[in-house]
Symmetry: C2
Subunit: 213 residues, 2 copies
DNA sequence: CCTCGAAGTTACCGTTGTCAACATATGTTT
DNA sequence: AAACATATGTTGACAACGGTAACTTCGAGG
């Protein structure tokens, strides 16, 4: 009946477990933490979680949903204030996207994992689409303003998302660093090159942009 | 002396286990198959694998290495015969990359997983770089021929790799289909848009293309 | 006050990855 | 040819895991 069930014994154990699990995601490798360790940290017995989640996959899926919500918030917060060009807004949002993934590598991987999808495919797509909507809006606005090439919007969204996703994951894996890709600013350059494929008119001067982080 | 040790009891059990494991990667979800099931299929006892791999992670890492080798072969095989433009070669290679990931989703994910990296980080980077070299060559040649913009080569390589990686993973996850990205040819469009960011001169197409300057 | 179901616990099950001890085959040395 | 050392494979065990079933506790509504 209640969408937000009141605490009985513990005091919203469900939330506590999600929070603790999110912490453990930040520590361990992958999402291979155990439900028993999670229960240990929450101070309950090792089967308490089954009163709130059918199984471990469901718990993981819930974390992934929260992850997409956090990503959406991070993207929205990254849009700079009014008097900035759409281009700057796009770049800031892109950097926020990559930063989110880099700061929460295990969470970001989990969000796109087969494990999470198996347990909540439909809801995951919804929350994912909600986060993506920020990018969609920006691209639609960019086309209207004549900044971006006229083209099927969702083709550009797909291209942009793929680039952000790729840059984020390669960065997480340390593959865009000077170790493999012999460039110091490979991530930033990739965003620039993406933009050059999206924009209606190219800027003069093909020199690589020098920007921190 | 021998890189390929002769069979004693079984007959190159190491190879047999790798092959069987590769098959199981194609079936199960992720790489959560069990060593015991693997041994069962290979017809040996459940601890036989420990004579050939220190632990499961090492076995997985070996699979990932093989995966990068296979990817390299697939990319090389995709370059069309002589009288084709560099652009076509690039597109064919890109499609082959995405096709490889789509055809072997679990293997592709494993190749970039934290699990595999934890067990063989250095060798993974080497084999990965070997596969990537196909892309590097093509881009260097493209710049020399004036087809691609003059720019730090590895910045373009990074941008290209990120796009291929992103498109591949989103395709695997079914997120580039008309379900989320409302376009039928999102993957192909993403490759086109990438090219438009890399090329020196834009082709005339469905949109008002303008030459720089 | 008393019942009822939600929240949490205890006991248990089958399975897993891994280790130690043992058995067997191979090819090298004497 | 006999003996040995070593690589290969097996048996048996262990703790830890995810999950189920039966039990206990506790707060809320009549």
């Amino acid at each position: 009946m209640n969408d937000v069930p009141k605490p009985y014994h513990h005091g919203d154990l469900r939330r506590a477990m999600l929070d603790t699990a999110m912490d453990m995601l930040a520590e361990d490798n992958g999402w291979q933490f155990t439900l028993r360790e999670l229960a240990r940290r929450a101070g309950v017995s090792h089967t308490a979680s089954y009163k709130h989640f059918p199984d471990k996959a469901a718990l993981l899926a819930e974390l992934a949903l929260i992850g997409f919500d956090k990503l959406r918030v991070a993207l929205l917060a990254a849009r700079p204030p009014a008097p900035s060009s759409l281009r700057d807004q796009f770049l800031e949002m892109s950097r926020a996207y990559v930063r989110f993934g880099s700061a929460n590598p295990n969470l970001y991987r989990l969000m796109f994992s087969a494990d999470a999808r198996a347990a909540a495919s439909e809801r995951l797509k919804e929350h994912g689409a909600a986060a993506l909507a920020v990018l969609v809006d920006l691209i639609e606005e960019g086309q209207r303003a004549g900044w971006l090439r006229k083209r099927e919007v969702y083709e550009q969204v797909g291209a942009g998302w793929a680039q952000l996703h790729g840059v984020t994951l390669l960065t997480i894996d340390g593959l865009l660093g000077p170790d493999v890709i012999r460039s110091e600013h490979a991530a930033e350059a990739a965003l620039q090159i993406l933009l050059e494929g999206l924009e209606a008119v190219r800027e003069l001067g093909a020199s690589p942009a020098r920007r921190p982080g």
